[in-house]
């Protein structure tokens, strides 16, 4: 049944329309709705009935609409998608139409989160546009499923909401277009304070040709207080309150009066905008302001010309309710309402000019509000007594009524959150900041890296490769002579390792010892001070405050001095490194049975006599110290007696004049016995003995003190244990200058990184954290570890390369690594590996 509503007729006739809004109560108090309707009647063309706005349970919009009609006022039924699916919505719409409701506003609805039942399951089967589309279908005789409606069709003048102030701004006019397409005939906008933005929105709508298809009613809300305006400005997304409005309110004496005036001014401004066909005044919890606004704005309405005929009469029922809930004080007022037209009372009330501030202080409560409050919140008069409380509640209500932001808004966070790049702390050892150095000298370095070190064969290559040829030309047969003058280039570990890795290209399996040669470095050396002159020193220099103690092994001219450094190894620019890195060569007390051919070939002829062996190391290979490893005394091996060890040591000691290191089997108990004996013969020569562990430190420290010789304090790769053993030895009376730490080392590929980091930490603690108990040199028994690995014993093949070079490189690389970690005294086996290490250490020791 197509009976056009008063609202529709008014708009079609080109009359400037005024709509207002009634929020139903949170109770079954229908009379309150009727009172509000009476308050507005005669000033507005129609009144919106909210549908549980901000998701708070209220008297239903459908029932409220009927109650409003009973007062002769035309309702606009608001219908949201939050609480009903398409079945419920269609059923209610059929019912609404049957009850004579002719105006419908289709909304998506506020999310339940904002309401008083946040636990509820949100429906949102449809969105507002789909709802409009559904209504269009119903009006044309189709249910949403396409089925025909047999019988009376519902009829509605259909509206929608739009917010010109919500982002994305550019999309809003298109969304409006969609709503029109879906069936919207009129639009009520979000509250307008920023008239300029609204104007441009309207302009855009005009460009899109929308204004001819839809009636736009501009949303107006009189700010009731400065606080409310500020709240809306700061907390309501999609609501812009320009500073000017705030200014006006803050400078006004009478805030409410100014609020009404602001609304009136905005109405007058938006009225001038083409396409604005009316205003929708949402005086939140302040309905009584509407008539005043309408009058001041000069909005002409013709309410008497229209009679809303409700399908049934509810007045009688309501009358009974009227008197009861109102308390004695108010009774007179109620009577007045009954006697006189509502608007007169409101007018009087406005004429009285009750100061708004005073009202807010709770001394006097305006009539309209009183009635509302009394019937709405019968029991809570207390709340209104306190001015501040009242204000707060007003704000909160405002919030829930209109803005739906009752809770504290969480801080806006960037989503998706960017993962924070985890930058590991700078490795403490990189004090030199090598990257700083690299750039200016890139070219030079490249040149060097190709030539640094290589292990070459003299015999002609059967299948020479390009690189090999290049290298060969540059390396002269007399390695040592060549190496020295050319050893001027500063060398870095990475540079060294590159050519070293290339070395195993040598393909012939067996060749004479002498053919493996260590080449030198080429290029001109430029001191760091020159290379880094552009960089402020404090960027790469971090001077230590501690000092590694000097430990002296042996006696006389050839005594070996270790430690005595105030900088990390090779960091000559940061402090004094007086003794550098020493290398001792290792011999055994017995014929070794597990040394691979590539190593044993150098010593096989002296295996039978450790004295000769030691002599060869010193005389042929230039060893500056000899480490006698008493492998034969190991209880798990031959378990030779202490006496044997003593004899061997005696022979060795008399054969060579370099300092001796006596390394026991590693069995704490056996070592106690063996080293005590051996010390008798090597003690007077100042030899270094060990390993001393916690289990035997008492006895062995006593032995060492007896001969005033240093010991090797051996601990299992741990800072604390190393420190603890030093403390124990010191407690026994042994000076720290008689201790060399063996941190327990691993070979390349066999835990070297762990060794490295523990050593590095000990050294940093000693130098930079002044941990006195750790300020002693390191001894690293490299040979034992390297030459028991699987790799050194594997034969030469294409995949693994040449066996001897591999072994040499493994031992040398292990040595270099541990020297970088802080090693002061290295014990090594292969003469070529020793040579290679010395070469590198000498090069790296140039400052």
């Amino acid at each position: 049944m197509e009976v056009k509503s008063y609202l529709q007729q008014g708009l079609e006739n080109g009359r400037f329309i005024v709509t207002a809004e009634i929020g139903p109560p949170k109770s079954a108090d229908g009379e309150l709705i009727k009172k509000k309707a009476r308050l507005l009647k005669g000033y507005v063309d129609a009144v919106n009935i909210t549908d549980c706005q901000t998701a708070i349970v209220r008297l239903s919009s459908l029932a409220s609409a009927v109650l409003v009609m009973s007062e002769g006022l035309e309702p606009v039924l608001q219908m949201t998608c939050r609480d009903r699916n398409r079945i419920g919505i269609q059923a209610d719409l059929l019912g609404a139409s049957a009850l004579g409701i002719r105006n419908l506003l289709c909304l998506t609805g506020d999310h339940p989160k904002f309401g008083n039942h946040p636990q509820a399951k949100p429906v949102f089967d449809l969105d507002s546009i789909q709802l409009l589309n559904l209504v269009k279908g119903l009006k044309s005789g189709r249910f949403d499923n396409g089925e025909a409606i047999k019988g009376a069709l519902p009829y509605f003048f259909v509206g929608a909401a739009e917010n010109p102030f919500a982002e994305p701004y550019d999309f809003r006019p298109y969304r409006l277009a969609k709503k029109i397409k879906a069936g919207a005939q009129f639009i009520q906008t979000q509250i307008i304070y920023n008239v300029d933005r609204f104007r441009s929105f309207m302009e855009r709508c005009r460009e899109l040709g929308l204004l001819d298809q839809v009636y736009i009613l501009a949303g107006i809300t009189p700010p009731k207080s400065l606080a409310m305006a500020k709240y809306m400005k700061d907390n309501v997304p999609g609501l812009e309150v320009p500073d000017e409005i705030i200014k006006r309110l803050s400078s006004a004496k009478d805030k409410k009066e100014e609020g009404i005036q602001i609304a009136v001014d905005i109405i007058q401004q938006v009225r001038e905008i083409p396409g604005v066909k009316g205003v929708h005044i949402m005086a939140i919890e302040w309905e009584e302001a509407v008539p005043e606004i309408v009058k001041r704005a000069g909005l002409d309405t013709a309410p008497s010309s229209f009679e809303v005929t409700p399908p049934f009469v509810v007045e009688k029922v309501v009358e009974k309710i009227v008197e009861k809930p109102v308390e004695v004080v108010v009774e007179k007022v109620v009577e007045k309402i009954v006697e006189k037209p509502v608007e007169v009372i409101v007018e009087k009330f406005l004429e009285k000019e009750i100061p708004w501030e005073e009202e807010m202080a709770g001394e006097r409560i305006p009539l309209g509000t009183l009635i509302e409050v009394l019937s709405d919140l019968k029991a809570s008069l207390k709340n209104i007594k306190s001015g501040m409380e009242s204000l707060e509640e007003g704000l909160a209500k405002l919030e829930e009524e209109f803005l739906g932001r009752r809770e504290h808004r969480p801080v806006v966070r960037e989503v998706p959150k960017k993962r924070e790049e985890i930058t590991p702390p700078k490795e403490p050892s990189l004090r030199e900041a090598p990257t700083v150095e690299v750039k200016p000298f890139e070219e030079e370095r490249r040149e060097v890296s190709e030539e640094v070190v290589s292990i070459k064969e003299e015999t002609p290559l059967e299948r020479p490769e390009e690189k090999k040829l290049e290298v060969k030309e540059e390396i002269k047969p007399e390695v040592k002579e060549e190496a020295k003058p050319e050893l001027k280039e500063e060398v870095k570990v990475e540079e060294v390792s590159k050519p070293l890795i290339e070395a195993p290209k040598i393909e012939e399996v067996s060749r004479p010892v002498s053919e493996l040669l260590i080449a030198g470095f080429k290029g001109d050396y430029r001191p760091l001070s020159e290379r880094a002159k552009k960089i402020p020193q404090d960027l790469y220099i971090d001077k230590a405050t501690g000092l590694i103690k000097e430990v002296i092994i042996g006696k006389g001219d050839r005594a070996l001095k270790c430690g005595n450094a105030s900088a990390i190894n090779f960091h000559h620019f940061e402090g004094e490194i007086r003794n550098g890195i020493k290398i001792a060569m290792e011999i055994l007390d017995i014929k070794p049975d597990d040394w691979p051919e590539s190593l044993s070939k150098y010593f096989v002829e002296v295996y039978h006599d450790p004295a000769l062996w030691a002599k060869k190391c010193v005389e042929v290979y230039g060893a500056e110290a000899i480490c006698l490893y008493l492998a034969g005394t190991d209880p798990n091996s031959l378990d030779l007696p202490a006496d044997h060890a003593k004899k061997v040591a005696e022979k060795v000691a008399s054969a060579v004049d370099v300092p001796l290191i006596i390394w026991g089997s590693g069995n704490a108990e056996k070592d106690t016995e063996v080293l005590r004996e051996v010390a008798d013969v090597v003690g007077p020569k100042g030899a270094l003995i060990g390993p001393v562990v916690e289990a035997n430190h008492r006895t062995l420290s006593a032995v060492a003190m007896g001969y005033n010789i240093p010991v090797i304090a051996s601990s299992p790769i741990d800072v604390n244990l190393a420190k603890q053993l030093n403390i124990l030895l010191e407690n026994m009376g042994l000076g720290l200058d008689k201790i060399i730490m063996d941190p327990s080392v691993g070979a390349l590929g066999y835990g070297i990184e762990y060794t490295y980091s523990v050593m590095e930490r000990i050294r940093l603690a000693a130098l930079y954290a002044q941990d006195a108990k750790l300020q002693v040199p390191f001894i690293c028994s490299i040979g034992k570890e390297v030459w028991k690995t699987k790799e050194v014993s594997l034969p030469s093949d294409d995949y693994m390369g040449e066996a001897e070079a591999r072994g040499i490189l493994m031992e040398a690389l292990t040595g270099v690594c541990l020297a970088l970690a802080g090693g002061d005294l290295l014990i090594m086996r292969h003469p070529k590996a020793v040579e290679l290490c010395k070469l590198l250490f000498n090069s790296l020791s140039m400052s």
Binding site: F114, P122, D127, I129, D170, P237, R409, R413, R419
Partner: protein, 223 residues
């Protein structure tokens, strides 16, 4: 993956109150990845239950086990022998696993150890966000790959609501307004006209409105 979260210990303790021997059964599927029900969480829950029960003076024996998955009957087979060993099983699998155990082993008292929450992505360690709602009728081909069903609080299908501001959702301000992003992306791609069409009401049957959802593939089915 399926995101889950351990249920409150008080709930689990209440469920197992009457038992003296139980098993905490983890799953190495999704719940392990989202740190709710893998080996580590099994160990923690088992230890917590032991501690909780000991505190009450009623020690409980807790076996720990983690299956590769709990959503496949074959992986659940070891449960055959379990029913005599323990009185109850607390499963840390998603609801699928708990249901399947209940289906296949009616004699086993199985209790859920986690709340199954959503299908989400792991944005960073300890942070998961919903990306899909399994509505059974994918529409993100039209929305630049961003799903308004899962990621819009009101699952709107016709563009952003009036609460979108500064690209944020009004319901959860820490989340982006997905419609804002969709509009932005399609605008950039010059495909905004896609959104100008009215998206009619969605058929929610594939989303479960049609009763229990099943899927059959002829080419894989036996016989």
């Amino acid at each position: 993956m399926i995101i889950a979260e351990r249920r409150p210990l008080s709930e689990i303790l209440k469920n197992i109150e009457a038992y003296e021997r139980i098993m905490v059964l983890g799953c190495r599927g999704c719940v392990a990845i989202c740190s709710a029900g893998g080996d580590r969480e099994v160990a923690i829950l088992a230890e917590a239950l032991r501690l909780g029960r000991e505190k009450k003076g009623k020690p409980v024996q807790v076996l720990e086990e983690t299956f590769i998955r709990q959503c496949d009957p074959e992986y659940l087979e070891p449960l055959k022998d379990i029913k005599d060993k323990v009185e109850a099983v607390v499963s840390l699998a998603c609801g699928v696993g708990v249901n399947l155990i209940a289906d296949l082993y009616p004699d086993i008292r199985v209790y859920p150890g986690v709340d199954t929450t959503f299908y989400g992505a792991n944005l960073s360690l300890g942070e998961w966000v919903e990306k899909c709602r399994g509505c059974g009728d994918c529409i993100i081909d039209l929305t630049a790959g961003l799903c308004p069903i899962a990621r819009c609080a009101k699952n709107l299908l016709n563009g952003p609501c009036g609460g979108s501001q500064r690209g944020r959702c009004e319901v959860k301000a820490e989340m982006p307004c997905i419609w804002h992003e969709i509009v932005e992306r399609l605008t950039k791609r010059g495909e905004l006209e896609r959104l100008l069409e009215i998206w009619t009401a969605k058929d929610w049957r594939p989303a479960g409105g049609d009763g229990l959802r099943t899927r059959f593939r002829e080419d894989l089915l036996d016989s």
